[in-house]
Amino acid sequence: MALTLLRGIRTQALPRANAGLFCTTRLSPLARFTTRVEGVQTTSPKAAPTSIQQAAKEAAEQKMQGFEAVIGIETHVQLSTLTKAFCSCPYDYGSQPNSTVCPTCMGHPGTLPVLNAKVVECAVKVALALNCEVSMTSKFDRKQYFYPDLPKGYQISQFDIPIAEKGYIDLDLPVEFGGGHRRFGVTRVHIEEDAGKLLHSESGNYSQVDLNRAGVPLLEIVSEPDMRTGIEAAEYGAEVQRLVRYLGVGNGNMQEGSLRCDVNVSVRPIGQSEFGTKVEIKNMNSFNEISRAIDYEISRQIHLHKESQADQIVQETRLWNEASQKTFTMRKKEGLADYRYFPEPDLAEVVLTSEYVDEIRNSLPELPEAKRRRYENMGLSMQDVIFLANDDNVAHFFDSTLEHGADAKLAANWIMGDMTAYLKDEKLSIHESKLTPLELSEMIASIKNGTISGKIAKEILVELIAKGGTVKSVIEEKDLIQIADPAAIVAMVDKVLADNPKQLEQYRAGKTKLQGYFAGQVMKASKGKASPVLLNKILGEKLKGS
């Protein structure tokens, strides 16, 4: 069925068609095609996951026209250590320009770098979390080039002996994109320092430099070219972010620049073993942009291949332009940069002992992948699993709630549904919620044993998140205990039926929908406390009987 939809799109028009598609954000693959082709029945939203996956797969294959994309990502993660990598300057994002600087990070003559021990610890943590082989000895090198935001004229980095190599990362693709488990290789992880910020003044013939950021420690994580689609690449980036936040080594904010991704994309005909010419893309500020930029670039390259202009694909750096949803050439480089790497003579080797590495390994928290597998084994759906494991704080809240005896599925529903909706509206994060995991489990238990109804629970949930307190006290204070005594309900039903003879007439005449009206009246009379289940049962019997 997806194929029928796709035949409506001509291949020559592909780039323009894609331009229209990319204006939307994160629609399911089927939704895209329904807007373009009229009169075709779509699968209902409640279709089984396998057919969505199948349709997504077929759609993707058709779009690739016999080519496959090869994508690799270089991620730079800013470490949130208290001081910079090679000097004792503090670093705060948003400080007054050129305030967190010293002669060392400004590259003044006669200064020497001294490595921050915390940087090594963070690097080893990330390396272990990425299942890498940690090098017990590694060294620093100078990467030399001239640029105003690089005070020393070289960047201290690690060239041929990085601190870690040959790892991998496991992730789950979002359900709305077909789901599925992936494992992507990590070529290497190394330590380096960040450069300052360069700003271009609007008028005038000068630029401006802020060196606050110069010398901030970075970890460069280079992936194997294992990704094949924009979604896979975006999810890889998201998982790295998740990992970094779980480990507490950085805040991984793309908007702030503490997580930066450069992507390399090439295409080749399916079955060919050689890689095609790879193109680097920069300037993507969110994971969605990464996904769209890659998809655009893939279709651009496939288009050139189809037009027999494959030689027009050159090894270059292109910038993603979010406004026009296209990539543009930054500049055609004359050749590869010659960084003249040589070992940094001012820094000693980084030598690790196996005790040190083991200590760090034992101190690692439960990582996202392990959490997801654990939640999956509890019987939660993949959608729930991915949501709960996404944010460490949410997962912690969920785990605590379970510790107090709540049922996993119910707890997941409450957290993912009402709680998240409220927090989002009030722009709060989960640890600002005054509702404690204990009280949430209390609330779930109260519904289960019939003390309150689900509807009442929704109301008190909001109160508890905002003001705290215990479930018990709120129920008592507001007199919300569900009326579950059949006799009491019978009495109320009788009264309502007696008070509304006209509607009762109409009901007997055939307007059966009025049962809802009666139910509403009873609810009103009971101030919402009547047990809905019991109410409808008794009401049904009464109405039938009469």
Binding site: T81, L82, T83, S88, C89, P90, Q96, P97, N98, S99, T100, V101, C102, P103, H108, V114, L115, N116, A117, K118, V119, V120, T137, K139, Y145, F146, Y147, P148, F159, I161, L198, L199, H200, G204, N205, Y206, S207, Q208, V209, D210, L211, R331, K333, E334, L336, D338, Y339, R340, Y341, F342, P343, P345, L347, A348, E349, V350, V351, L352, T353, Y356
Partner: protein, 160 residues
């Protein structure tokens, strides 16, 4: 002696077998690599071009990379001096540290470069404790061109 060392280079490069990576031999492996990471310098080409025929340094290219302007006389003057530096580094690289007895504590003076780089864990690391630089004013004073609060630099069009 230098030229003998230089002429020995091509043969040694071809003959060097891969070693097990103990950290000392790792260093010697490093130094056996071409000194420049540039793709333009290919060890095979250098080795193959006959005895003593390591490429002389391309001075104009070197000067351009270092953003230093050289007059033709200066280039002529500097070329042999730079060649000497290169030869000296190569001699260091060729120094055979494999067959020397293991020593505890201080290394031999000739291995001074290796000595410098090798150290125990912890001794050369710094605690992650902030110490803001006290004399920021002196730094600002020392800047050639300041446009409060930024450092003013010529307009950057591209990096080349």
């Amino acid at each position: 002696m230098l030229s003998a060392a230089a002429s020995a280079i091509p043969r040694l490069r071809c003959a060097a077998p891969p070693r097990q990576a103990s950290s000392r031999t790792q260093w010697s492996l490093l130094w056996r690599r071409p000194l420049s990471s540039s793709p333009n310098v290919a060890p095979a080409a250098a080795a193959a071009s006959g005895p003593g025929a390591l490429e002389p340094p391309d001075l104009p290219r070197l000067a351009k990379s270092a953003r230093i302007s050289l007059s033709p006389q200066e280039a002529e003057e500097f070329a042999p001096k730079i060649q000497q530096v290169v030869d000296c580094s190569l001699e260091l690289a060729l120094y055979d540290i494999e067959n020397k007895p293991e020593r505890e504590g201080l290394r031999k003076k000739d291995n001074s470069l290796m000595n410098y780089l090798h150290t125990a864990v912890g001794s050369s690391l710094r605690e992650d404790k902030a110490e803001p630089f006290a004399n920021r004013d002196a730094i600002i004073e020392a800047l050639p061109s300041y446009d409060d609060p930024y450092i003013k630099v010529p307009r950057v069009l591209n990096s080349e």
